[in-house]
């Protein structure tokens, strides 16, 4: 009996101590981690898409509720007006989700560009979707609300050689972006007025 109590006691104390330590650390690093995510993954992609904008899109951002989740939108100001937004969507790649940030010009619904952010695709094959600009550049200047697909499926986008599934995932994400854009446009326009100086 004594041994039993000792076992329970040791495990309980150990677990609660570890739980407390981790909770404290998590609280302490949370802000820093969010910042790092923005800086390292989304930031560079957004800057590439909204190239030449006059503001810092990472600072000028807002959130819009979409069903149960919230989506972040990053604002790009051109010629003094908030003309463009960038936001992230996901498609299904070869190994898990592929994150794509899409930039949209609000005046005519054309895409400024697309950039792949987070992915687990095969290095040297599927990862070209992120590293090789000639693939994502196909999306530039197309209308975001179109539907996109790779050419083997009868679509309009050249797939990366050897990485059809990844390419398909990116097309899926961009198509999804078009749907989100259609759905949330009134709300986006309303929010953008805040950035109109």
């Amino acid at each position: 009996m004594r041994e039993m109590i000792k076992m329970v006691l040791v495990l309980t104390i150990l677990s609660s101590f570890s739980g407390g330590l981790l909770a404290a650390l998590k609280n302490g690093t949370q802000e820093k981690i969010e910042y790092q995510e923005l800086q390292n993954v989304k930031g560079p992609a957004i800057e590439k898409i909204l190239e030449g904008c006059e503001n810092d899109p990472i600072v000028d951002r807002f959130k819009v509720a979409d069903g149960e989740q919230e989506r972040s939108f990053f604002v790009g100001i051109f010629d003094g007006k908030p003309k463009s937004i960038a936001f992230e969507t996901y498609g299904k790649g070869f190994a898990g989700k592929v994150g794509v940030i899409v930039g949209v010009n609000l005046e005519d619904g054309s895409m400024l560009g697309a950039q792949v952010t987070t992915h687990n695709e095969t290095p040297g094959v599927g990862s070209k979707a992120q590293d090789d600009p000639s693939f994502v550049s196909q999306f530039a200047n197309k209308t975001v609300t179109d539907s996109f697909g790779v050419k083997p499926d009868g679509g309009n986008i050249d797939a990366i050689a050897g990485a059809t599934i990844t390419s398909r995932g990116v097309c899926m994400a961009v198509t999804e972006a078009g749907e989100i854009y259609k759905r949330l446009k009134p709300e986006i326009v309303k929010q953008l007025e805040k950035f109109n100086k």
Partner: protein
């Protein structure tokens, strides 16, 4: 029973160098050593966990009842792994992106649990500390070496600098998973050959 502290430290560097001699903890060895930086980063993370868990297990070795010792070890190891994960996200985010899922998987690295069970639970704190440190550094060196070989041949670069010039066509097979097995096997063979005499 207790040998000199220097012996405990030194054995991890050659005589019992983890991946090659003990052949323990192969999952991260194979998966993350696509480049020198990844290998060393993973090695350092594991070293931190190894040293901290060895110290704590050794400190608590008289308190932990032997029937639940494995559970206690796992709690201790998991706590330190989460600490590493959070710290890495906050301060070395690019490395975290590269290593991804393999950071939480340090929990189930046999090497860490193996040292806690086979060494730290039976030996005084200073010896456990030097054992952990030695094993960790040996692990880091092995991962670094494997990473460097794979990076040089597989992508023709080392730490981002081109090694062979632009005419070199990278042998990408080594960067992919099967290449890791081949590379590890060859290095094991070389190590066995070198220490045979």
């Amino acid at each position: 029973m207790a040998k000199s502290i220097a012996y405990e430290f030194g054995k991890g560097l050659w005589k019992e160098i983890p991946p090659f001699r003990l052949v323990l903890g192969l999952c991260p060895v194979l998966a993350v050593t696509t480049s020198l930086q990844n290998g060393v980063g993973m090695g350092l993370a594991t070293t931190f966990v190894l040293v901290c868990s060895n110290i704590l297990v050794s400190m608590l070795r008289k308190v932990i009842p032997s029937k639940v010792r494995i559970a206690c070890f796992i709690i201790i190891i998991a706590t330190f792994v989460t600490v590493v994960e959070l710290l890495m996200q906050a301060y070395a985010y690019t490395l975290y992106l590269q290593l991804g899922i393999f950071i939480p998987l340090i929990v189930v690295n046999c090497l860490v649990l193996g040292r806690a069970e086979a060494f730290a639970y039976k030996n005084p704190i200073i010896h456990s500390l030097s054992d952990g440190l030695g094993m960790g550094i040996g692990f880091t060196l092995s991962l670094g070496a494997l990473g460097a070989v794979r990076e040089i041949i597989g992508s023709g670069e080392l730490l981002g600098y081109s090694v062979f010039g632009s005419s070199f066509k990278p042998f990408t097979f080594l960067i992919e998973a099967p290449g890791a097995f081949v590379c590890l096997g060859l290095m094991l063979a070389i190590m066995n050959l070198a220490s045979k005499k």
